[in-house]
């Protein structure tokens, strides 16, 4: 996963979420189709994809997809 576009494809193709670039910066409660279960699935998926452990406690408190992406690529 090298870019925010890869991250979007992951959300669309692996979680089935109908998200666009415009949703990335919005609060999670405004992401279409989002619920708290997606967060768990997404974090598991990100770890599988990047091969790195995410700081889950921080990721669980992220307010937007953008913040989660930032944790995934910097951790």
């Amino acid at each position: 996963m090298n870019s925010i576009d890869d991250f979007l494809i992951l959300l669309q193709d692996d979680l089935g979420l109908p998200v666009t670039g415009a949703d990335v910066g919005a609060g999670l409660d405004r992401v279409p189709g989002w619920d708290s279960v997606h967060l768990l699935s997404l974090l598991t998926l990100l770890e599988r994809t990047t091969g790195r452990a995410l700081p889950l406690a921080d990721a669980l408190e992220a307010g937007s997809l953008e913040e989660i992406y930032a944790l995934a690529v910097t951790s």
């Binding site: 992951l10 089935g16 406690a57």
Partner: protein, 634 residues
């Protein structure tokens, strides 16, 4: 790492993948084809497919495809269980089923099990997912084995009472599971004596849980130890700590796979026959080239010979529990017969198979003919072969067949065969252990038939005997099984668990008849069932079913005549019966009209017929029928 690396993305221009269908918004429209797209999926691919399929609205799928079998599954338990739903969705989709899930509130299992008005009591499958924190959430610090023993006893006492209550009045099957013991708890006890004691009290609690399945008919307890023993992690500590998902996603996925097989059985789609390739599968080597002395099988032979022999023992073990065995091999029949009759290294012999097909024709043609000869649907077959070519061809030509590919490492054949619980059932019946003999007799009957010029003469010589009995406790398991296994002669596909059959026995308005049959070749046992219900002066036939082994011998007409005679003799004015169409029961759609019933309503799926009890049909003359005493009004 597996999952979504670029190399796993589908190649443009190839056949549609699940991901293509998702991207194009066609998953609902193409749902019946999803099963085929999943049949070769890896665990990682199944996980992804589960995410996509779990987004579909089951109502939309049903609206588009009314024939897709729907299984309602209510999920309750102790921890966070939402991550289980995608796994359940995909595991049911693998079997062509559609999941209609209901997820209970967090940690609501005590409330849900005690609430007869809730979803748990209405579902086909009610999953109560237990985890180690059911106990450890209540254990104080510092703790010793005796604290765990006390808490476990309390929690299990509560649970046992709730389960008994559920079993009394719920509709479906309750699935519990054992509690795995994570090392993170055992290792907190530093002395080995205490640690061993913890292990003992923990297993005593699990043993008590497992015994709940013996105490209640509609309770299944999944033992998670064998799943964890395969190397699946029990706990993902971060998810457990931060989100109270106390069982790891991998263990939940393995759990969901087991549920998929229970759901398939519940939907009447259990597998019945195991069809094996020979060269490279049942034995090593190629019979046509290596000769009988050159093939590899035998407990005391080479490593590979012993591995094939061990595989045969497992196949034999399945067959002993009612799985029909057949062989389909590209070989000349004579050497195959020679090996199956006399090879000293074989564990399986000719008599273990209902049929051995050795020829050079395409295997899918042989499988289709075998299904016809056994009067089974080809989708009740599990097919094992070491040739990727044969596996691929059978998958392509016969999508309903479960294909189990094995490879050149015979020590892994057993795991490949058992990876999916293709033949799983809640319990066995008397008929299961004699099934192979029954089907072999059936093939002898077919040969006997070939010796006659007319069907009438054959039937007369067959000396069919039918007797009907009011079902009692002894027939409950078999009658339930008939409703679950029978797909062809099943007028309404009303599936009933043992407890539901038992409830009908206790219902004064309901009548449950078991159809016994025998002929010159022996006793067929309980081969059919009729479920009726009296409303005023109308008798409703709720369902009428007959084992596919014994169609078209007059048994069904004989039983129907008896039901009509009984109705008239007991003051009924009409008998009504439904036929509900399914993909597999069309050959019996004319059963009622052929026997004097007239259609009353037809909504496109269900036809209701009525018999005015004026002129009753005459039972076939060749059948010797034993009436239930008093049934004809005498």
């Amino acid at each position: 790492m597996t999952g979504v690396s670029g190399s796993e993305r589908p190649v443009a221009g190839g056949p549609s993948t699940l991901l293509d269908l998702h991207r194009e918004g066609r998953l609902v429209r193409e749902y019946p084809g999803v099963r085929q797209l999943l049949c070769e999926a890896s665990d990682a691919e199944l996980a992804r497919a589960g995410q996509l399929l779990a987004r579909l609205d089951p109502d939309e799928v049903v609206a588009e495809h009314p024939a897709v079998p729907v299984v309602t599954v209510a999920v309750t338990g102790h921890g966070t269980l939402a991550p289980l739903l995608p796994s359940l969705t995909v595991e049911l989709a693998r079997h062509g089923l559609l999941l209609r899930p209901h997820l209970a509130d967090f940690d609501a299992y005590v409330f849900d099990l005690a609430d007869p008005g809730g979803e748990l009591y209405r579902a086909d499958l009610a999953l109560c997912v237990l985890d180690p924190m059911v106990v450890f959430d209540e254990v104080p610090v510092p703790w010793g084995p005796e604290d765990v023993e006390r808490v476990a006893r309390e929690r299990l006492g509560t649970l046992a009472g709730l389960v008994a209550r559920f079993a009394e009045s719920a509709r479906g099957t309750l699935v519990l599971n054992t509690l795995p013991l994570p090392r993170r708890f055992a290792a907190q006890l530093v002395d080995h004596r205490s640690r061993a004691r913890l292990g003992a009290v923990w297993r005593e609690a699990n043993a008590r849980l497992l015994r709940l399945a013996e105490e209640h008919e509609r309770v299944v307890v999944l033992d998670l130890d064998p799943l964890a023993g395969e190397g699946v992690p029990v706990v993902e500590p971060r998810l457990s700590q931060y989100t109270r998902t106390h069982l790891s996603p991998a263990l939940l996925a393995a759990y969901a796979r087991e549920i998929g097989h229970l759901a398939r059985h519940r939907a009447g789609q259990g597998k019945k026959a195991l069809v094996l390739d020979l060269d490279g599968t049942l034995w090593g080597g190629i019979l046509g080239e290596d000769g009988p002395d050159g093939i590899e099988t035998g407990a005391d032979g080479t490593h590979r010979a012993a591995a094939h022999h061990a595989f045969q023992r497992v196949v034999g073990q399945l067959a002993a529990q009612g799985v029909l065995l057949a062989a389909v091999s590209k070989n000349d029949p004579e050497p195959v017969g020679e090996v199956l009759r006399g090879h000293p290294g074989m564990f399986l012999h000719e008599a273990d198979f209902v049929r051995v097909v050795a020829n050079w024709r395409p295997k899918h043609d042989n499988l289709t003919e075998l299904a016809e000869a056994l009067n089974l649907g080809v989708d009740s077959f599990v097919f094992v072969d070491d040739s990727p070519y044969e596996c691929g061809l059978v998958r392509h030509e016969l999508p309903g067949v479960a294909v189990v590919p094995v490879n050149g490492e015979p020590a892994l054949h057993i795991e490949a065969l058992l990876r999916d619980g293709w033949f799983d059932a809640p319990e066995l019946t008397r008929e299961d252990v004699t099934r192979v003999a029954q089907y072999r007799d059936e093939l002898v009957r077919k040969d006997f038939l070939d010796g006659f010029d007319s069907l009438e003469e054959y039937l007369r010589q067959l000396r069919v005997e039918v007797h009907l009995v009011e079902a009692g406790p002894a027939e409950v398991a078999r009658l339930s099984q008939l409703t679950l296994r029978t797909n062809q002669f099943n007028q309404t596909t009303l599936r009933l668990g043992p407890a539901e059959v038992r409830a009908l026995l206790d219902d004064p308005a309901a009548r449950v008849l078991a159809v016994h049959a025998a002929d010159r070749f022996g006793d067929n046992g309980v081969v059919g069932a009729v479920f009726t219900r009296r409303h005023g002066d109308t008798v409703h036939i709720d369902n009428f079913l007959l084992s596919c082994r014994v169609f078209s011998r007059g048994i069904e007409q004989t039983a129907l005549c008896a039901v009509l005679r009984h109705a008239r003799a007991h003051g009924a004015r009409t008998v009504r019966a439904n036929y509900r169409t399914t993909p597999k029961n069309t050959k019996v759609k004319d059963f009622y009209p052929r026997n004097g019933f007239a259609p009353v309503t037809d909504d496109g799926t269900t036809v209701t017929y009525e018999h005015a009890l004026g002129v009753l049909p005459v039972p076939p003359a060749h059948v010797h029928f034993t009436e239930i005493p008093g049934d004809d009004g005498s």
